[in-house]
């Protein structure tokens, strides 16, 4: 088990986890129609920053916000930087990771997790493993993707995009919307003891994680939700079903993804657990999605938790190209 000691979200809806949580609570969405943002592509509905952003400064700002409390020694050998991204800075994934880690004078070579759309959850699993193995005491997990002509044209060619705001799990869903964001979560082997800037209420522990492949198709999920089911099975070990307060699903609003997730949740016996879907607010933020959505699902569970409840658990699950699925369980 590792402990969250700081987190942040930067999205078109605002800067900081609290601002983004408040925006979602207020029902604000970052999704808009863009007719001419990217040359040649057809008009899209997406959640984009007003002005095109630079990748490395966006990640740096996200880390600064998440570590403002000073609980994580960023320049220490005990701290590892992990970047979750699919396209990085103009297709280069390694150089921007070095750019972020070296900005904070971190002496360790960073790690980039590039496991398609599951990267943000996989990066947290990697952080947990490295911390529990004793190699590091702190892990700064940054997720970021910015949209480009490259990505938009590809998803459009794939006919995966909805021209309207997406409708996850609706019978009328037409596909996904893309989004831009950076999100950071900082994990530590040391449990935070004081009510620091983030506040005890805003922390959680990462209990377990699992990654499984469907082994059926590189661009379509298993119809029976094999990989996602195996992930849920693994992260449910040692915990009762009724302890799960919320499942943060991927919910991209593509025909196949949502069906697959429903099948996997059913197989895992978790049908009665409320689901949290955030794509209608942020779009699919790719490398940032797993981190951004983990933070907001946990904040929701924290808000809903009653004083009598000692342990509430949240599951965050994702699936992606390459047949890969991932899930983590967090204790709130």
């Amino acid at each position: 088990m590792v402990f969250c000691i700081g987190h942040s979200i930067i999205s078109p809806l605002g800067e900081g986890s609290k601002a983004n949580f408040a925006a979602v609570q207020a029902g604000r969405s970052g999704l808009k129609r863009y007719d001419h943002r990217f040359a040649d592509v057809e008009p899209i509905c997406a959640s984009l920053f007003d002005q095109p952003q630079a990748f490395v400064p966006m990640c740096i700002r996200s880390v600064e916000l998440a570590t403002a409390g000073g609980a994580c020694p960023l320049d220490s050998h005990d701290t590892i930087f992990i970047l979750s991204t699919t396209k990085g800075d103009n297709l280069d994934l390694w150089t921007p990771a070095v750019g972020v880690a070296s900005y904070f004078a971190n002496p360790n070579p960073p790690i980039v997790v590039s496991n398609a759309c599951t990267s943000g959850v996989c990066a947290q699993i990697t952080a947990q493993r490295l911390l529990e193995s004793g190699m590091y005491k702190h892990a700064v997990v940054v997720g970021c993707d910015l949209q480009s002509r490259f990505i938009v044209s590809g998803f459009q060619a794939f006919k995966a995009l909805s021209p309207e705001p997406c409708l996850p799990f609706s019978e009328e869903r037409q596909g996904l919307n893309l989004g831009e964001a950076a999100a950071t979560v900082v994990y530590s082997i040391e449990q935070p003891t004081t009510n620091d800037q983030q506040g005890q209420d805003w922390t959680w522990s990462l209990e377990s994680g699992a990654i499984h492949n469907d082994a059926t198709h590189i661009s379509a999920p298993s119809r029976t939700g094999d990989g996602a089911f195996l992930c849920l099975r693994d992260v449910m070990q040692g915990v009762q079903h009724d302890a799960i307060r919320l499942i943060g699903v991927h919910g991209t609003a593509t025909l196949y993804n949502d069906d697959m997730e429903r099948a996997a949740i059913h197989r895992a016996g978790l049908d009665s657990v409320p689901m949290c879907v955030l794509k209608p607010f942020f779009g699919h933020t790719m490398g940032a999605a797993g981190i951004l959505e983990t933070i907001l699902c946990v904040m929701q569970a924290q808000q809903d938790k009653t004083e009598n409840e000692q342990q509430v658990h949240v599951i965050k699950m994702l699936s992606g190209f390459g047949g890969v699925n991932a899930a983590i369980r967090l204790r709130v």
Binding site: V112, A157, N213, A215, S219, F321
Partner: protein
Amino acid sequence: MITPTSVVLDGQPITVTQTGDKMLVELYRRFVGDYPKFFKMDTLCRLGFVAAEMLLKDHTTNDERSSDWTIIMANRSASIKNDTDYLATISEGHYYPSPALFVYTLPNIVTGEIAIRHHIQGETSFYVLDKPEQLEPIIRSTLHPQPSTLLAGWCECRTTNDFYAKLQLIWNN
């Protein structure tokens, strides 16, 4: 280990007549031969796929293995070779984006291709790192809590004539 001009399996050099991408096809014909989907793959996937086939050829697939096998791969350049190929389909004045190429613009697709071939429903993970040595602590920390049989290694491809794969099978049961 596979480079554009040389192949070594279990410490023994394998004689090849071709180089680059053509050599990968030559290896496919010699070690696999019955998986036409190979020809749809980009060079990064062909490289990782053939390297994996050579290691796994003596180990038949069975259901027992499927959910506790782990595949971990890493490289420095992600999917840059296929990214470049895809970019050519959306160049100005020639905008015909190819979905078939786009799906290969993620480095982890190679781990998915191997998982499909061998029905491995365990973990598949892809990392972008500076050097192969950086993969060692990641592998150790992956195996520590959940021992499994692991196919792991470096799989780098910049062009059809500039690639390097070094994979190993780790039995950890």
